[in-house]
């Protein structure tokens, strides 16, 4: 063994048996001393003299141990443990400082890691499949700046067989499946996948097999339709029975055979959905009955298409290959000739982009808000670090004499910096640890906010920590430690030793120069706080304006109860009769005031539109909804003229339509819409029976679109699934049970109806704005608090150092008010410069918020003035306290204390 290695191992061993080694060393020396004593005795010394001589010769036992231990120990490690112990003692001795430091850091860190965990799961984490980097997302380009990610069946089938650059081309579509359980049908979250989906994913099933191209054929495979289920679904629905493969599931009233179970680790190609059932694409006409997207040709854009590249093929090659086949696929898509020509003029072609983390529609929606939030969190964390740095700096100034003494006694500057850095590293690590502990809570709250509650479009994000998150947290802790510690440590250990020891507490020398850096720190803190506060003010103002903008209807106390009628047997008049019975039933429910029906729930981002024209007039786009009797009263939409619909507006009574004000103005600018007709593309005429107030249809932002309402009985749709709108007095929760029982009695075959309060729908529709504003205000509050603590803390420390000086001033006759003003001025200067700098940055940065703001200018002077005013108030309050305290210093005591 090499001597160096042997020495290293020896030292390592000594770490774990320190106590024993010490006793062995002293025993060894004691033995030596004993032998010496014996020798001296033999040489004729007296007992006493021999004892003394031996002792003198060997010296202090303590020193021996020290010397030998030094030999055996890692010096750095020893010193380190000593430093850590010392730092801990110091932190323990100032619990207030430590608590504030930890709390602010934990806050900043938990916000950062929580947002990062969302970003990680939504934007960064790759799919849980082998060689995820081979995955690409396909899109259609037709001259628009944004590529299209929706495919129709002919396009997908045209690309499916192109095997020269892709190993597999596959399609999928998220869907809700009606699965028959013990007590009627239940909605289960699932996905329909093409035959190449699983071969591309290359996941091994837990049992059975996955779906193959043979399953994705008209009518299913050789033994009918097959499905693969998730491990969770196997455990919950089938209670984890071992013979689940081969069992059948009734989906949408048809029999499907379970052929395999997919492991939990695989969550599909869309990271925001966790499907329970994977069904073949070819089963769409059954699963989505009465609709049929599969045979919808170029009218049904329902698929997301992805592909796995052949090994060695890069994106460029794939794009070139896609470009080459585009025209061919377009021409065989059986679209109308006009449309094909139009597409060709727009240089239609397919394209591929990296898809290692799958495809999620919500990504495009949430990327910007998430990054914005990340920025805000970063700002908050930076603020927390700056705050701690300035507090440490102020404290370091108080410890000046201690550090100078230690240096005078021989401690190197590096050693002192290391000790101070350990202190800040300790704060940073503890703060990060605390923050990490809070992360899951904050993360889940944010994810819940982001995914929009229990709505039908809600997504599930997997925010469980992985190496990326831990790496991020470690980086945050490290950067925080450096930010917090380095500067104060550097500052505290520099300067002239003699001066510092001489001057001690009342260090007056070079005040200007030594106070520049702490001031800069505080100024940037104030500036940062102002940026956060004004950003929050902009977002909050916009949100308030959004809520005040007026929806055109009154959502408070209204609930939507959606019924899935598409899979039951009735249609036409008999189905309308069922709806009427539901209507009658709901009216008897406790607290219910008004009941009606609607097809499209406003602001749910669903839509239905068509082109209509007044006779001889121009054609206009009209947003449509089919509604029941008493609808406008229930929604509190004012009826300007004419009458609402009744149960007698049936198919045979002539087609009727009700227009909103904007639509009426559009079609009949001269007024007098009642009794007139408008016609659709197929020249079918509708008689206008009423004009009602404008109500927001799809989006709260922007004015209400021209809209028309048709009676639900005259809707040409097959088996329409309508929502009851119910206005209730008092709590709506009892309606859940009531409507469930009602449905079970009237139409037992449909799944339990889904209830959503209208308020929640409205909130969800402006989710992003709400979340940003709420977080913004929260962060702004935190930053104000942190800044106040910083201003208060640094000023307190600074005044504490000047107790003596202030005492003398007062003793010499300085007025207490003057003293107060003098102390207060220190922070006033800092706050003023900070506000100025912050304002400048905030105004220039605010443009990034433009897309989140509604009817709010990013340059609104009132908002910025308000933000500045708030900050100035907080800063003044924080600075006043130390100033007042300074003015009450007792001169006698202050001078005597030195």
């Amino acid at each position: 063994m090499l001597p160096a290695i042997s020495a290293f191992l020896g030292r390592l061993r000594s770490l774990f048996r320190g106590r024993r080694m010490e006793s062995e060393m002293s025993e060894e020396i004691a033995f030596h001393r004993e032998r010496l004593r014996e020798k001296y005795l033999q040489e004729g010394m007296s007992e006493k003299a021999a004892e003394r001589a031996a002792r003198v010769r060997l010296g202090n036992a303590q020193r021996w141990q020290e010397r030998l231990r030094e030999l055996w120990s890692f010096r750095i490690l020893e010193e380190l443990t000593r430093d850590i112990r010392f730092s801990l003692r110091l932190l323990w001795k100032s619990p207030g400082f430590t608590a504030v430091g930890l709390a602010t850091l934990a806050l900043g860190v938990s916000a950062n890691t929580a947002v990062f965990s969302l970003i990680n799961s939504l934007l960064l984490r790759p799919l849980a499949v082998p060689q995820a980097q081979q995955m690409v997302v396909l899109s259609t380009q037709e001259g628009a700046p944004q590529p299209g990610y929706s495919f129709c069946t002919p396009f997908f089938r045209g690309l499916e067989g192109k095997g020269d650059v892709f190993q597999n081309v596959f399609a999928f579509v998220n869907d809700t499946l009606q699965v028959r359980g013990e007590s009627g049908n239940v909605n289960v979250h699932g996905v329909m996948v093409s035959g190449q989906y699983f071969p591309a994913m290359q996941v091994k099933p837990v049992m059975g097999r996955y779906l193959t191209p043979a399953d994705d054929q008209e009518g299913g495979g050789s033994s009918g339709f097959a499905v693969v289920i998730s491990e969770d679904f196997w455990k919950t629905w089938f209670n984890g029975v071992p013979d689940v493969v081969g069992r059948s599931l009734m989906i949408a009233n048809a029999s499907f055979t379970v052929v395999g179970v997919i492991p939990k680790s695989f969550t599909g190609a869309d990271p925001t959905h966790h499907p329970q059932i994977y069904a073949p694409l070819s089963a769409d006409p059954i699963i989505d009955a009465p609709r049929d997207h599969l045979h919808g040709g170029t009218h049904a854009w329902w698929l997301t298409v992805m592909a796995r590249l052949q090994p060695g093929v890069d994106l460029q090659k794939a794009n070139a290959a896609l470009q080459a086949v585009s025209t061919g696929v377009l021409h065989t898509s059986t679209g109308e000739a006009d449309w094909i020509k139009d597409e060709e003029q727009h240089h239609f072609h397919f394209a591929a982009e990296p898809g290692s983390n799958g495809f999620a529609y919500v990504r495009s929606v949430f990327r910007k808000p998430l990054l914005m939030m990340f920025g805000m969190c970063g700002g908050l964390l930076l603020l927390a670090c700056l705050n701690l740095a300035s507090l440490l700096l102020a404290r370091g100034a108080v410890r000046e004499r201690e550090l100078a003494t230690r240096r005078a006694l021989g401690a190197t500057r590096l050693r002192l910096i290391r000790q101070l850095m350990i202190e800040s590293l300790f704060l940073a690590t503890l703060g990060t640890g605390l923050g990490m502990a809070l992360t899951p809570i904050v993360g889940h709250a944010l994810a819940a906010m982001l995914s929009g509650g229990s709505g039908p479009d809600s997504m599930s994000l997997d925010i469980s920590p992985d190496w990326r998150l831990y790496g991020f947290a470690a980086a945050v802790a490290f950067i925080a430690a450096v930010l917090i510690g380095l500067m104060p440590a550097w500052r505290a250990t520099e300067g002239d030793l003699n001066e510092q020891i001489k001057n001690g507490q009342h260090a007056q020398q070079q005040r200007r120069q030594t106070r520049l850096i702490p001031r800069l720190l505080m100024i940037s803190q104030v500036a940062l706080a102002l940026i956060l506060v004004s950003g929050a003010a902009l977002l909050a103002t916009s949100l308030v304006r959004l809520y005040r903008s007026g929806l055109g209807f009154d959502p408070h106390g209204v609930v939507n109860i959606s019924f899935s009628m598409d899979k039951q047997q009735l249609d036409g008049e008999p189905l309308m009769e069922v709806y009427r019975q539901i209507w009658d039933g709901l009216k008897t429910a406790p607290g219910v005031k008004d009941v009606s029906f609607q097809f499209v729930v406003p602001l749910s981002h669903r839509g239905w539109n068509g082109h209509y024209a007044a006779p001889g007039g121009e054609r206009h786009l009209l947003w449509l909804n089919s509604v029941g009797p008493d609808y406008f009263n229930t929604m509190r939409i004012p009826l300007d003229q004419g009458r609402g619909f009744t149960w007698s507006d049936t198919k045979s009574s002539g087609l009727k339509i009700i227009l909103n004000r904007s639509a009426a103005k559009l079609f009949f600018p001269q007024g007098g819409a009642i009794g007139r007709q408008i016609v659709d593309r197929d020249k079918v005429a509708y008689e206008v029976v009423a004009v009602v107030g404008d109500a927001k249809y799809r989006d709260v932002r922007g004015p209400a679109a021209p809209a028309g309402y048709v009676p639900m009985q005259q809707d040409s749709q097959k088996k329409p699934s309508l929502s009851a709108v119910v206005r209730v007095d008092g709590p709506w929760q009892p309606l859940v049970q009531f409507s469930r029982e009602l449905t079970a009695r009237l139409v037992p075959s449909i799944p339990a109806p889904v209830i959503r309060p209208m308020d929640e729908v409205v909130d969800t529709s402006i989710n992003t704005e709400r979340m940003m504003a709420l977080l913004g205000v929260f962060f702004a509050g935190c930053s104000l608090l942190v800044t106040a603590i910083g201003l208060y803390g640094t000023l307190s420390y600074a005044t504490a150092r000047r107790t003596n000086e202030i005492g003398i001033r007062i003793a010499l006759g300085a007025q207490r008010r003057r003293v107060m003003a003098m102390i207060f001025r220190e922070n006033a200067v800092v706050a003023t410069i900070g506000c100025g700098a912050g304002l400048a940055v905030a105004v220039s940065l605010s443009t990034v918020l433009t897309s989140f703001l509604y009817e709010t200018s990013t340059r609104d002077p009132w908002i910025f003035a308000g933000a500045t005013f708030t900050l100035v108030c907080v800063a003044s309050a924080a600075s006043l306290l130390p100033a007042v305290r300074a003015s009450w210093i007792d001169p006698m005591q202050a001078i005597r204390s030195e």
Binding site: M1, P3, A4, S6, A7, G10, R11, E24, E27, E28, I29, F31, H32, E34, R35, L36, E38, R57, L58, G59, W64, R67, L68, L71, W72
Partner: protein, 114 residues
């Protein structure tokens, strides 16, 4: 490191003590006191090894794997730490004594030249 009783013999080169210790232990396992006594005796009382140098040297050699240490009974039946040369230690002693022989011969040549 080593204090000579005759101060006019000049200071010995560094590493010499370690070589002497290894040499002392070549005769068999010994405790620290015996090593010091042996060197003192064999050098005709010219070399006196200070404890302050001896024990760090012993520990350093042990740590680097040239010596093994174990506790045993001394001649007067007391517990003492005995050091024993390892195979590495023997090799080291050979190399050191060769180096020393060359060095002292060279020094002798220089000093005896006229």
């Amino acid at each position: 490191m080593i204090r000579e009783e005759n101060t006019d013999s000049g200071s010995l080169l560094q590493g010499t003590l370690e070589m002497l210790v290894l040499k002392a232990l070549a005769r068999g396992p010994q405790h620290g006191y015996a090593v010091a006594e042996w060197i003192h005796h064999v050098s005709h009382q010219l070399l006196k090894v200070e404890e302050g140098a001896l024990y760090p040297a012993l520990h350093r050699l042990e740590m680097r794997g040239f010596l093994n240490a174990e506790w045993g009974a001394s001649e007067n039946n007391r517990r003492a730490k005995f050091y024993r040369l390892t195979a590495e230690g023997t090799k080291r002693l050979d190399a050191e004594s060769q180096r020393w022989a060359r060095l002292s011969a060279a020094v002798a040549f220089v000093m005896q030249s006229s």
